[in-house]
Every structure is written in structure tokens, then in C-alpha cells.
């Protein structure tokens, strides 16, 4: 009864707008590209064979590395941030949290462009460095710039779930740990961190996924020089008009994410 009332609206939505569309995408993977784009309904496995091409596997691997690096930095910066916010007084907490999401209410693309102003050859960072006799450095149009942009775009998605997890920890647990002789750092390592693993996992997922599938930031900040799997998919759909192969790449991407999701579920259960 309760199950039906609470679950059916959301599940219906998910089936109609997620599963059916995905089924349509997936069904494309076994067909051929038409001569001028579109799909010819002729069974083939060539798309999967193509996927194994080191060229594409290399792009997937590179994207994984970039996304993982972004996620790791986001976690290292986001956790202490969320932790500090959770320790503020209720009034400041709200303000600090809103301040985390506020930049997001401008615009994704504009914000990414702002980094060009900062990082470009004659840009602000280099001017600053020049003032102290350093540089100029090539800060833009490379992997570092991509990671910076991804981090900038998705850091709040790390902070929010972490904050939620940390905030609901019983403060007495920390007190108990301190009382038993643990330094603040040990308390963090042994009590706070293990109990907030679900938040860590959600945050990592929320940062990793859009980083992994991104194509706008590699374009704008990476100068298109290192493409990610998102660019690849976008190009197959919009440029090469090879929907079957684009769908196959998408399937690979979904597969990677499913593996991550399962890993997450497994770790959350252990935590």
C-alpha cells in the first residue's frame, strides 16, 4: 500500500522518460549508419568491434583519468569545506551553504569563460605572477585547465551531499572520541569519515559523472586539444551523424557508470 503510493509516480516517470528512451538508444547499437546519417535497420556487430579500437578506448581511458583527478581534488577540498560549514552556528551555516551554490545561479558557460580571462596568456593570473617576477605560464588550453574548469563547475555537487552527511552526525560521537583520547584528526579518520562514507560516495558520483561525460569544458578550456568521451559521443550524433556508433559509445559510458554505481552500493553497504 505505502509502497504503491510512494513509489508508483516516480517509477512511472522513470520508466517512461528514462528506460524507454534508453532502450531506443540501446537498440541503435546493433544497427548500421545510413549513408547520409540516420539508422538502417540491419543487424550488425561492427559498432562494438569499433569500440575496441585503441583510439576510442584511449579516449575513454583519458576521460576516466581526468574525471578521477577532478573527483579526487573535489573531495580533498570539498570535505573540509563541508565539515567546516557543518560546524558553524545554524545562522552562518545557511549563509555559508548558500554561498556555495550562489555562483551557480549565474551561468555554466559564462563561469567557464571567466577562467579564460583568469588563465589566458595575458590573463589575470599571469599578470599577477609577472608582478612577482614569474611566468608567464601556459595555463590555458591543456588538461590542467580542463580539470580546473570541471572542479569549478562541480565542486558544489561534492560539498552539498557531504554537508548533509556530516551535519546529521551525532556530535556526541565526536565528543566520545575526543574523550577517549583521540586527537581531532584521529576522530575525523576513525569516526567522522567512516560515518560519512555514504555522503562521500554520493559526492564523488555527482562530480565524477558530469566530469566524465563533459564536452563543453574540454572545448572551451582545453582548446579542443584533448577530447573526452563526451566530445566523442556528441560528435557521433551531431557531426558524423553516426547514431549507431554514438549509441554504442553511450552504452560504454553507461556501462562504466553502472560499474561505479554498483561499487558505490557495495561500499555504502559496508560502511
Amino acid at each position: 500500500m505505502g509502497a504503491f503510493v510512494f513509489l508508483s509516480p516516480g517509477l512511472t516517470y522513470l520508466v517512461v522518460l528514462l528506460l524507454v528512451p534508453l532502450a531506443l538508444v540501446l537498440s541503435n547499437t546493433v544497427f548500421r549508419r545510413g549513408r547520409f546519417g540516420g539508422v538502417v535497420y540491419e543487424f550488425t556487430t561492427e559498432n562494438f568491434a569499433r569500440l575496441m579500437d585503441p583510439l576510442y578506448l584511449g579516449v575513454v581511458g583519458g576521460s576516466l583519468r581526468i574525471a578521477a583527478l577532478t573527483t579526487a581534488i573535489a573531495l580533498l577540498l570539498g570535505y573540509p569545506t563541508a565539515y567546516a560549514i557543518a560546524r558553524l552556528s545554524p545562522k552562518w551555516k545557511t549563509i555559508a551553504l548558500v554561498a556555495i551554490v550562489l555562483p551557480f545561479w549565474t551561468n555554466f558557460i559564462i563561469r567557464v569563460y571567466a577562467w579564460i580571462i583568469l588563465l589566458s596568456g595575458p590573463g589575470l593570473v599571469n599578470s599577477g605572477l609577472a608582478a612577482i617576477g614569474l611566468g608567464p605560464y601556459e595555463l590555458l588550453y591543456n588538461r590542467g585547465a580542463i580539470v580546473t574548469g570541471l572542479l569549478y563547475s562541480y565542486l558544489p555537487l561534492m560539498v552539498l551531499p557531504l554537508y548533509a552527511a556530516i551535519e546529521r552526525l551525532d556530535p556526541q560521537l565526536r565528543e566520545a572520541s575526543a574523550n577517549l583520547g583521540a586527537s581531532p584528526f584521529t576522530t575525523f579518520r576513525k569516526v567522522t569519515l567512516p560515518l560519512t562514507i555514504p555522503g562521500v560516495l554520493s559526492g564523488c558520483l555527482f562530480v565524477f559523472v558530469p566530469s566524465f561525460g563533459n564536452f563543453v569544458i574540454p572545448e572551451i578550456l582545453g582548446g579542443n586539444k584533448s577530447i573526452m568521451v563526451g566530445n566523442l559521443i556528441r560528435d557521433q550524433f551531431l557531426k558524423a551523424r553516426d547514431w549507431p556508433f554514438g549509441s554504442t559509445l553511450a552504452l560504454a559510458l553507461i556501462a562504466v557508470l553502472l560499474v561505479l554505481l554498483m561499487a558505490q552500493a557495495w561500499m555504502a553497504r559496508r560502511a
Binding site: 537498440s27 545510413g34 547520409f36 546519417g37 540516420g38 582548446g223 586539444k225 584533448s226
Partner: protein, 350 residues
């Protein structure tokens, strides 16, 4: 239903297969939906055209790139679009999929305003399925004050001299990415030979470490700011009219392309008479000249070009016959995936 079937209809659908259209149809019952590049039509266009054509409604949607437009036009059952602006080879591809309504010349008297050269475009000889709106070519746009030597060859871009190292950009859209390399090697921009494409790839890979980046849209800004010294550019987007007067455009000696942005009418349109009337309206010299004056692209409309005052530094002076020296990019069907792969291989390389 998942996108257009691979149509077997022969190239250049003949007019006999087309609907019968009535020249005197009641346009007040028809509404037109247009999709066009941003900035490609004047702001007051909707109001003025609607008034003059007396159509029931006129709506403009925007797309950013050909690819975006293709996604809209080919994906869903009914796009609801009557008139679309796309580049020539895309018009060709849309037609191959049977999505285009043949042009009914009798409904567009202003076709007569076009240059004769504009009816001989290789992707659509005789304007059977498309009507050209702007045209131009691709070349090297550069800072006259900062280059040590004026670029004259695609090789200046492909193998930048030390003073331009990491200060050049290339376009990323796959056919234009390949163009400089193919031309430098003396091949056709429409080649489908694996061997030739492979050689182009080698050139592009060798070039990559010396690039600032790949850029289709903001190369002009990079030139102005001095981040870039030479960029691959479409003529109209090379900011030669910049007040500082330090930017110039050069078509390399190996030759280049002729690109055309065209107007097409969708087969699914229910307002075909109005669609033709709209194209006819655009081809009127006083309307068409707006494009040349405001987007700095030449228009293939003789009567219109004659009205245009060419500003200092403008590239509008290039004549149609010079333009026709450029090679038209045509759609390569199945072989176009080779270019996708080429661009993937180049951009994926680290």
C-alpha cells in the same frame, strides 16, 4: 521513426515528384517556422516580413551550428520547421534523406537576382533544393603587426615558425580541420581516399603540439587579444574591419573552399507556399543586402551586392568568380565517417 531512413532517392529530386503548389494560395492561413543561425537575420525581420507577406504567423528559432540544425531536422517525427538555413553539404545530406521539398522557381521570382555563379554550386546545380543565402571561403586570418612574415601558404599554419609557436589555431569542425592539410598536400577537400586522408592526418598530428587550440567561433577574439597570431578562419568572421586595422585575411596559394549557407524548405512543411514567399522576400535586394552589411559575409545576390558599401578592410570585395576558384565542400555520405575519425584521431592525441 528513429531519424531519417537511408533514402535511395536519386540525387536532385525532380520537380515532378513535388507537391503541386498554388501560386495564389491564401497566405494568411499559413504560418512559417524558420530555424536559422543566430545573428543571421535582422532583429526587426519577423515584424517586417510578417507585415509584408501577410502570413498568419512567422516564428524564428535559432541554431548555433549545422550539426545542431541537423539534430533538429532529422531526429523527431515532425520538427515543425518550414524553412531551415544550413550549409550546402548539409542541404545535400538532408535531400539525400528525402527530407527536402524541391524549390518551385515559379514561386521565387527574385531568384533572378542571384549571380549566375550562384546557380552552379556543386552540391546543388540549378538550385533545385536550396537557395543560397551567403557564401565565402576559408583562409588564414592574422595580425599584421605581430607576424614576422605574412602567411601565404597553408604550411605557414601547419608548420608554424618559431615566433608563432603555440599562437595559431585551427578550426575543429571536421571538414574544415582537414581542409588546410588536404590543400597543402594538393588534394581535394572532398577526397574519400584513405591514403590521402592518412597523409593529412600526419600533418595535423605534427602540427598539434604547436597549436594554441582548436577554435571555430572565438578565433577573432584570440587574435584581437594577441593570444593568437594566425588562425584558420572563415572570411566573414575574420575581424578585418577592427578599428585598430591590424588584422588581415589571406587565401593561401594552395587554394581553399567555397562554402555556401543556403535556405531549404522541409518536405514536412504544411506551409510551402508561404515558405517560398519568405525566401522570395529575403532575396529582395533591400533585404538581402542586410546580411552583407551586418554579418560581413558576401551574399550571392548581384542586385543586393550592388547596394552594399564596402567598408575599409572588408572582404566583401571578393568577386564571385574568385570565389568559385574555391572547391565546394560536398557531403560524402558513408565516407564522411572517415573525417570524423580523422578529427577524433587528431584531437584525441595527447
Amino acid at each position: 521513426a528513429c531519424g531519417g531512413e537511408s533514402s535511395t532517392s536519386p540525387e536532385g529530386t525532380n520537380a515532378a515528384a513535388a507537391d503541386d503548389l498554388k501560386p495564389n494560395a491564401d497566405l494568411t492561413k499559413q504560418s512559417i517556422q524558420v530555424t536559422v543561425w543566430d545573428g543571421y537575420l535582422p532583429e526587426e525581420f519577423t515584424k517586417k516580413a510578417k507585415e509584408q507577406l501577410k502570413v498568419k504567423d512567422l516564428k524564428i528559432a535559432l541554431h548555433a551550428t549545422n550539426e545542431d540544425a541537423m539534430a533538429k531536422l532529422t531526429a523527431s517525427g515532425d520538427s515543425g520547421i518550414d524553412v531551415a538555413f544550413v550549409s550546402g553539404q548539409y542541404a545535400q545530406a538532408l535531400n539525400e534523406q528525402g527530407l527536402l521539398e524541391p524549390i518551385h522557381p515559379e514561386l521565387i521570382p527574385n531568384l533572378a537576382n542571384l549571380y549566375p555563379e550562384a546557380t552552379q554550386l556543386s552540391y546543388d546545380k540549378g538550385n533545385k533544393i536550396s537557395v543560397p543565402y551567403t557564401w565565402g571561403t576559408t583562409g588564414i586570418c592574422y595580425r599584421t603587426d605581430l607576424v614576422k612574415k605574412k602567411p601565404t601558404s597553408w604550411n605557414d599554419l601547419l608548420k608554424p615558425p618559431a615566433w608563432a609557436d603555440k599562437k595559431v589555431t585551427m578550426m575543429t569542425t571536421e571538414r574544415w580541420l582537414a581542409l588546410p592539410a588536404l590543400k597543402a598536400l594538393g588534394y581535394s577537400v572532398n577526397t574519400d581516399k584513405d591514403e590521402e586522408i592518412a597523409q593529412a592526418k600526419e600533418l595535423l598530428l605534427a602540427q598539434k603540439p604547436h597549436l594554441l587550440g582548436y577554435d571555430d567561433t572565438t578565433f577573432g577574439d584570440k587574435l584581437k587579444s594577441g593570444e593568437a597570431l594566425m588562425v584558420e578562419a572563415w572570411d566573414g568572421w575574420c575581424p578585418t574591419t577592427d578599428p585598430k586595422g591590424n588584422i588581415a585575411f589571406e587565401v593561401p596559394k594552395e587554394g581553399s573552399d567555397l562554402w555556401v549557407d543556403t535556405m531549404v524548405i522541409m518536405k514536412s512543411s504544411k506551409n510551402k507556399e508561404a515558405a517560398h514567399a519568405l525566401i522570395n522576400y529575403i532575396l529582395a535586394p533591400e533585404n538581402h543586402s542586410w546580411a552583407a552589411e551586418n554579418i560581413n559575409y558576401k551574399v550571392p545576390n548581384k542586385a543586393a551586392m550592388e547596394r552594399v558599401k564596402v567598408a575599409k578592410g572588408s572582404l566583401l570585395g571578393i568577386k564571385p568568380d574568385e570565389l568559385l576558384d574555391g572547391e565546394s565542400i560536398v557531403d560524402l555520405g558513408q565516407a564522411s565517417t572517415k573525417y570524423t575519425r580523422l578529427s577524433t584521431e587528431v584531437t584525441a592525441q595527447s
